[in-house]
């Protein structure tokens, strides 16, 4: 992959006596998971292209504590939150963008009570505003006329009622958006939330990601659009289980826009 990404850290900005316009919170998945790193890079390419003065925390970033909180470990969650808040407040961060709905929800909703008050934006909303401000343009190109279905991440959709921003971006790609039977506020979970990502599911008839992937495949879509790295993992596993690899792709919306732009 090309290495011409510009990824400054907040520390570098501060050293130059500058303040970044927005902090890009990468998140654990975006930092370490091989599949998710591609999403991270795609988003950075878009930020670079749009000339956004962003920065990352790099090694100063730590897990937001979302999986700990949802597993019931409030103690660990608050330890993580307070350390992160100390870092963020130390750098006087005001605005955060992230590609992970779990980080988004935690930073936006659960940090204020612990002293962390920021304007937190999900990357789909951020990209939408970059396009509205004409800092970024999308030509359909590669996805023109392709059938795309969008899977609502629980922590973006129901949890924070963001349903339209991702859909508007898909429509800007001149793609045909096909809705699954369960979508928007009725969207079925991919099975990863609430720390399920990190454990085996309880005994049952089926795995949740299989159920959801089957529903996505029923639409006849060529691409399953995701807006969450964990949903991406779960749906990709579902595609493997359905032996549809190479036929149906699971892509983050940032990746779709970046590849439409041939970045």
């Amino acid at each position: 992959m090309s290495n011409n990404l510009t990824v400054p850290t907040v520390a570098e900005f501060i050293a130059q006596g500058k303040q970044p316009e927005v902090l890009f919170w990468v998140g654990c998945s975006g930092s370490f998971d091989d599949r998710s790193k591609k999403i991270t890079k795609a988003f950075v390419k878009l930020l670079n292209k749009a000339g956004v003065e962003f920065a990352v925390l790099g090694a100063e970033e730590s897990c937001t504590g979302d999986p700990a909180k949802r597993a019931g470990n409030e103690f660990l969650f608050q330890m993580q939150a307070m350390m992160n808040i100390e870092t963020l407040n130390g750098y006087e961060i005001k605005k955060i963008v992230t590609a992970c709905p779990h980080c988004f929800n935690t930073l936006k909703n659960e940090y204020p009570e612990l002293g962390g008050n920021y304007e937190v934006i999900h990357h789909t909303s951020f990209l939408k505003s970059l396009i509205a401000d004409e800092k970024l343009t999308i030509e359909g190109g590669k996805f023109k006329g392709k059938k795309i279905t969008y899977h609502d991440p629980c922590y973006l959709g129901r949890a924070n009622e963001i349903y339209e921003a991702p859909r508007e971006l898909i429509e800007k790609l001149d793609a045909a958006l096909l809705e699954m039977k369960r979508s928007r506020r009725n969207g079925l979970c991919c099975g990863a939330g609430g720390a399920q990502m990190f454990k085996e599911p309880e005994e049952g008839k089926k795995d949740i990601n299989i159920e959801r992937t089957e529903e996505a495949l029923e639409t006849g879509a060529d691409v399953i659009a995701a807006a969450c790295p964990f949903c991406n993992t779960m749906m990709s596993d579902g595609i493997k289980a359905a032996e549809k690899e190479g036929q149906v792709e699971v892509l983050d919306i940032a990746e779709m826009i970046a590849s439409a732009e041939d970045l």
Binding site: M1, L5, V7, V26, C28, S31, F32, T40, K41, V56, G58, A59, E61, S62, C63, P67, A68, R70, A71, G72, N73, E74, F75, L76, Q78, M79, Q80, M82, M83, N105, K108, N109, E110, C154, R158, A159, N160, E161, R185, N186, L188, C189, G191, A192, G193, A195, M197, F198, K199, E200, P201, E202, E203, G204, K205, K206, D207, I208, I210, E211
Partner: protein, 451 residues
């Protein structure tokens, strides 16, 4: 005027309402076993939410068939109650159709409306019975709905069939008497007591069955229906306390008190915040004597093991749940065959709360019965199957939050018992040691930029 029926009526009314009130007091006492929670904020939004969701039934119609039928029964129930008011005043004063002379044509219109609604309710309730007992609708077949909950739902529907049938038969007999008086066949004082009033678009088709009957017979039919109808209503009122049907009252406060913050925002545990702040404060003296004021308080357990650890809104949720199962029908864990059912979480919470209440009734105060909500009612396997996706919360038509109870119980398991599934302990160990759920070094967080 005969005074005996008036006295009997008054006694039944006072007894019926009084017994119900004493049970509701018990229910309130039980709810107060929970922790206090402040929901006194954002009153305007709360009223608007109550108007939209409880009064306006806006979430009911998301399932159009059940929703529409429910709205018919709901409107029927509310409007036919105007007639119950007249019945009560008639009963206490010995009058018959006391509103009629004052309302004139409006009265005829009202009675006609009640009759049409009664018929619509009757039809809807029969469809409900078919849906529950004949059609294989998944949410009515769940394991938590076997036995009493299934019977309870059917009893409610039977009750409504009987009440509506009595109401229409009563009107039909009344109409037959009115027609007899008008035709000059019935001339006694008792018969002319049945003033010509009302319009009977439905029961006019029943009254031909009474053709040729003597006044006495009609009188007994009408009176029997009248008495059974009002006594039936009082029995039904008292049945509410034992049934899932309390939602007809509790839905309103329940929606009013429901969470207004984003669904993804879970509560902050302040007791933990204090401890974490202490730990992170470099100036804190770990050997300092504890604040004597704080030492007085009994340390509350973290999370919920039993109903005492839940808050009062969560306990109100349990009494409000009408076991419709819309939550369970949307739950990804339940849909894929896991044991978790959000409806069962609510039913178990209520069962436990009522069992605790029974001990208090018997002993005068709470005495440990060796059971807890966790393990004796709700299993850890159910709790760990939840993805916290909020589908259940979104699905509930009356603002119940099963997820908040699941979360409190997970907190208890982890914070008090260190009883998380092993894989999660590994995950949490990773977060604690290297700031990510996986065993990667925090120093490598930016490696992707150069790969």
């Amino acid at each position: 005027m005969e005074y005996l029926p008036i006295i009997i009526f008054a006694l039944i009314l006072v007894g019926g309402v009084g017994y119900f009130a004493s049970n509701i007091k018990k229910m309130i006492r039980n709810i107060k076993l929970g922790k206090e929670v402040d929901r006194s904020d954002r009153k305007g939004e709360r009223f608007a939410q109550m108007a939209r969701i409880a009064l306006g039934q806006s979430k009911m119609v998301r399932r159009p068939i059940a929703g529409l039928l429910h709205i018919i029964v709901y409107i029927g129930f509310v409007i036919i109650n105007i007639e119950v008011l007249e019945i009560i005043i008639d009963g206490l004063t010995g009058q018959h159709r006391i509103f009629a002379p004052y309302l004139g044509g409006v009265y005829d219109f009202l009675i006609a409306t009640f009759e049409i609604l009664a018929l619509l309710v009757l039809v809807s309730v029969i469809v409900f019975l078919v849906r529950r007992n004949v059609m294989n609708i998944r949410r009515f077949l769940a394991r938590e709905l076997k036995g009493w909950p299934k019977n309870d739902a059917n009893y409610i529907l039977y009750f409504e069939v009987v009440l509506m049938a009595l109401f229409l038969t009563m009107n039909a007999a009344d109409l037959a008497i009115q027609q007899g008086v008008a035709a000059g066949r019935f001339t006694s004082e008792a018969a002319t007591h049945y003033i010509a009033a009302g319009s009977f678009p439905v029961s006019q088709f029943i009254s031909p069955l009474f053709e040729g009957m003597e006044f006495k017979t009609l009188f007994w039919i009408e009176r029997t229906c009248w008495w059974l109808h009002i006594v039936g209503i009082l029995i039904f009122l008292n049945y509410l306390y034992w049934s899932k049907h309390l939602h007809i009252m509790l839905a309103f406060p329940n929606v009013y008190l429901a969470k207004l913050t984003p669904k993804g925002q879970f509560t902050n545990m302040e007791a933990v915040t204090k401890e974490v702040k202490m730990m992170m404060d470099p100036n804190a003296d770990p050997f300092a004597a504890p604040d004597p004021a704080a030492a007085e308080e009994e340390p509350a357990s973290l999370g919920a093991q039993d109903i005492f650890d839940l808050n009062q809104v969560q306990l109100l949720n349990a009494y409000t749940c009408t076991e419709c199962g819309r939550c369970t029908a949307e739950c990804p864990a339940n849909l894929t065959g896991k044991k978790l059912s959000p409806r069962k979480i609510m039913m178990d919470t209520r069962d436990r709360l009522e069992d605790v209440g029974k001990v208090i009734d018997k002993e005068g105060e709470w005495k440990d019965d060796g059971k807890t909500l966790l393990n004796d009612y709700i299993l850890t396997e159910e709790l760990w199957a939840c993805t916290t996706c909020n589908a259940c919360v979104e699905a509930c038509p009356i603002g119940i939050d099963p997820l908040s109870i699941i979360m409190e119980m997970r907190r208890y398991l982890v914070l008090e018992n260190s009883a998380a599934p092993n894989e999660l302990n590994v995950t949490m160990g990773n977060i604690e040691n290297n700031g990510a759920p996986w065993p990667y070094n925090q120093m490598d967080r930016l490696n992707w930029a150069n790969e």
